[in-house]
């Protein structure tokens, strides 16, 4: 029996903040004190509150230490572990009640409204120990499926639960499985899409890093349901920690007889291999992903035939996203009705969102479908930092759109997001404030899709490029009002004439910003002005004579010598020489430099 448990986050966010060194220092100290039989130190997956990483929790007190540094380890051991005095200075502020006592984590604003199904084990168990997963009901669902249910029973449960694909498009998972089950053929494949490419979305990686066995178990269940004996997990090579933990998890599952031949003595065979992606966004599209597993250039194929009929290596295949799989064992154990009781009528269950951008609590949150954007951004996310005004939220990555502030009370589910011109996507939610230019954001996404278009369809390959050039004209101030109309027309042309989801959705960021922020586009075109002060070509820096004290700091720091003036007299910027780097504005201590 341990008297104390210390959980150190080993997700990528915290690891980047040196949490591995913290973990090692902690283990080292505990051994040095001879406390290894009393205090258990373990490394877990992501807690979700990445903004405050590296994170550490000490039980039984439930002390949630945030932004821990390696230097803090000694103090934590000396004070908390040895003397039993909590190190108040390191506690996450939200967990300290007014009277100084510690509040439970799930009473804090960030966790209160969350409902963790897919993330339930992340930050709880050690992902590198199968025993810990099993202790939390792991592989019980697989056992139940293999011993008590027929393949059709499994599919019926998934159908009834209303689970829809969490990768973006939201296709009902049960129907996908049913198609694959009904397809004739002896050899079938189960694939997992872990090629998480949407910039700003990292829930799949966190699940793989924090709870890899949940995905393995779910894939085995899927294999049983459709009659497959081989699976592939296609994961980005850019996710080294996820790949490593998956590799360990697969090895352990094989050792325990949970993968391989004759699982649970039922005669059911299933094994799993990892395939590393090599950095191509289009490979998140299902047919492109399969082409890539086959070792080729990851170009999409026309559908039909759908993968459920003719997929990987020409055999019936199902492909689901990581988060979708992470829900499956829970649905089997707790039942379809339990799952369907969460969320909205057409979007059941929960969804994980990656909060990023101009928001206080960046990180991962899992909320029931139907939660409003306002609750996510203000109640959970803590709003925009530095008192800035919320302007828009971007969902769905390069395929999605920007949701303006006046639609902030929209309950989030698949259909509502589509209706307001965005989409669920994989669940990235990037918050933007008044300092972000919406044309610039649209341009940013287009640059991404130009780069990532695989080149197969002309409308996507050339269309996105032309669209990008038009956006450049807008941000340079050389576009005309007709260009805006042409842009819109081109958007629809690209959507209608592209084979796969990448091209069909690539114009969405432009269309949604044109729709909701047309005034901003018009300001660029008509007034040659960027209201947010982002687009460099349209910017002019000026010095307000009344505020300038003539300290010469700006002139000394200007890299091109564009600022002139005598000491203790107001300075001026020569717009011809100015390269708009903004150094003068940063350096000025009197707020005298402004963007005009």
């Amino acid at each position: 029996m341990f008297r104390s448990h210390i959980l150190v986050c080993g997700g990528t966010g915290c690891t980047s903040g040196n949490s591995i060194k913290i973990y090692e220092a902690l283990v080292h100290r505990i051994y040095k004190e001879g406390l290894e039989k009393e205090v258990h130190v373990t490394q877990t997956g992501c807690f979700g509150l990445c903004a405050y990483g590296p994170i550490m929790i000490v039980y039984p007190e439930g002390a949630f230490y945030s932004q821990v540094k390696v230097e803090d380890v000694d103090e934590i051991v000396d004070e908390h572990i040895i003397k039993g005095r909590i190190v108040t200075r390191l506690l996450y502020k939200e967990t300290v009640a007014d009277d100084g006592s510690i509040k439970a984590l799930n009473e804090t604003n960030f966790y209160k409204k969350q409902c963790r199904v897919a993330l339930r084990n992340c930050g709880v168990i050690n992902p590198e120990k199968i025993e810990e997963y099993i202790a939390y009901d792991g592989y019980e669902a697989l056992g139940k499926v293999l011993t008590e249910m027929t393949p059709q029973d499994v599919i019926d449960v998934i159908l009834k639960s209303g689970l829809r694909g969490r990768g973006g498009a939201g296709f009902p998972t049960g129907r996908k499985w049913q198609f694959a089950k009904n397809s004739p053929g002896k050899k079938k494949y189960v694939c997992c899409n872990a090629d998480e490419g949407d910039p700003g979305a990292f829930m799949d990686r966190s699940i793989l890093e924090g709870d890899p066995h949940a995905v393995i178990e779910a894939m085995a269940i899927a294999a049983y349901a459709i009659g497959s004996d081989q699976g592939y997990i296609y994961v980005r090579a850019e996710y080294p920690i996820a790949v490593q933990r998956l590799t360990i998890a697969i090895r352990q599952a094989r050792e325990y007889g949970l993968l391989g031949k004759n699982i649970f003595g039922t005669g059911f065979n299933f094994d799993l291999d990892i395939r590393l992606g090599a950095g191509a966004f289009v490979c998140g599209e299902e047919t492109a992903l399969m082409t890539s597993i086959e070792g080729n250039r990851g170009e999409p194929r026309p559908r039909p035939p759908f993968p459920a009929v003719k997929g990987l290596f020409g055999k019936p295949t199902i492909l689901n996203n990581v988060e979708t799989y992470a829900n499956i064992p829970q649905i089997i154990l707790k039942g379809a009705d339990w799952f369907a009781s969460m969320g909205t009528e057409k979007s059941r269950g929960t969804k994980v969102f990656a909060l990023g951008g101009k928001i206080h609590n960046t990180g991962l949150v899992e909320i029931p479908m139907g939660t409003t954007m306002r609750e996510i951004i203000y109640d959970i996310g803590g709003g925009c930092p530095n008192g800035k005004k919320f302007k828009a939220a971007q969902t769905g990555g390069p395929s999605g759109g920007c949701i303006p502030a006046h639609l902030i009370d929209t309950p989030i589910d698949y259909d509502n997001l589509l209706a307001i011109g965005s989409m669920m996507g994989s669940g990235g939610l990037i918050v933007m404030d008044e300092d972000n230019c919406m044309v610039d954001i649209a341009k940013f996404f287009l640059e991404f899709t130009v780069d990532e278009s695989c080149g197969k369809c002309t409308a996507c390959r050339i269309g996105t490029k032309r669209l990008y050039e038009m956006l450049c004209k807008v941000t340079d101030g050389t576009a005309t009002m007709e260009d805006l109309d042409k842009m819109e027309e081109l958007c629809y042309y690209i959507k209608e004439n592209s084979l796969c989801g990448l091209g069909q959705t690539a114009p969405n960021p432009v269309l949604s910003t044109l729709h909701y922020f047309r005034d901003e586009y018009e300001a660029h075109v008509r007034d040659k002005r960027c209201p947010a002060g982002v687009c460099k070509k349209l910017l002019r820096y000026e010095i307000v004579a009344d505020k300038c004290k003539g300290c010469t700091l700006c002139a000394r720091n200007c890299p091109v010598g564009a600022i002139t003036g005598n000491v203790k007299e107001p300075h001026v910027i020569d717009p011809e020489k100015c390269i708009k780097c903004g150094v003068c504005m940063e350096k000025c201590r009197f707020g005298a430099v402004i963007k005009a």
Binding site: Y239, G295, G356, K358
Partner: protein, 166 residues
């Protein structure tokens, strides 16, 4: 497009043996199906990049044409036909980092190192790439130098960070 530096290919006999052994191993693991990407990944691990002679070796071993190997190697962002610097700098230009100003960090690096993305400094010390989201959005904007991760980076900090590697 990467800067074409004329680096003569000087792969060693050991590297070649290592690659051939790795390809043999892969063939067993993959059951002969869909080897190409894994083969290129192994080769890049061994050589650091994928020059024409290495692509030719893979083509011979897998029994496919050089064009096919080249086609796959140029499709994926992970593969580089040119050598990288001793210190590989990556700046995340994912959305979360971008809205928090990683574009300025990237520009500052280009100016300081006098190279563009995908290029390598003349002394082959630093190479610079704009990367896709690396998933630590909580630390935005993020840059990496080999395996070191720097979070919440500002353009002013660049000189100090680079100095650590000089």
């Amino acid at each position: 497009m990467a800067k074409k530096i004329d680096v003569p290919f000087n792969g060693t006999k050991e590297q070649e043996e290592k690659l051939r052994a790795a390809l043999k191993q892969l063939r067993v693991e993959h059951g002969g199906q869909g080897l190409m990407i894994a083969a290129l990944q192994k080769a890049q691990d061994i050589y650091g990049y994928l020059p024409a002679p290495v692509q030719q070796m893979i083509a011979d071993e897998l029994g496919v044409s050089l064009a096919e190997v080249y086609g796959v190697a140029t499709f994926y962002a992970q593969f580089s036909l040119y050598p990288k610097g001793q210190y590989k700098i990556g700046v995340c230009l994912g959305t979360a980092c971008y809205v928090k100003g990683s574009g300025d960090v990237y520009k500052k690096l280009c100016e300081t190192l006098h190279i563009e993305g995908g290029q390598c400094t003349d002394d082959q010390k630093f190479s610079l790439d704009a990367t896709r989201c690396i998933g630590c959005c909580g630390l935005a904007p993020v840059m990496t130098v080999n395996d070191d991760v720097y979070g919440k980076v500002t353009p002013e900090e660049i000189d100090g960070i680079l100095a650590k590697y000089n």
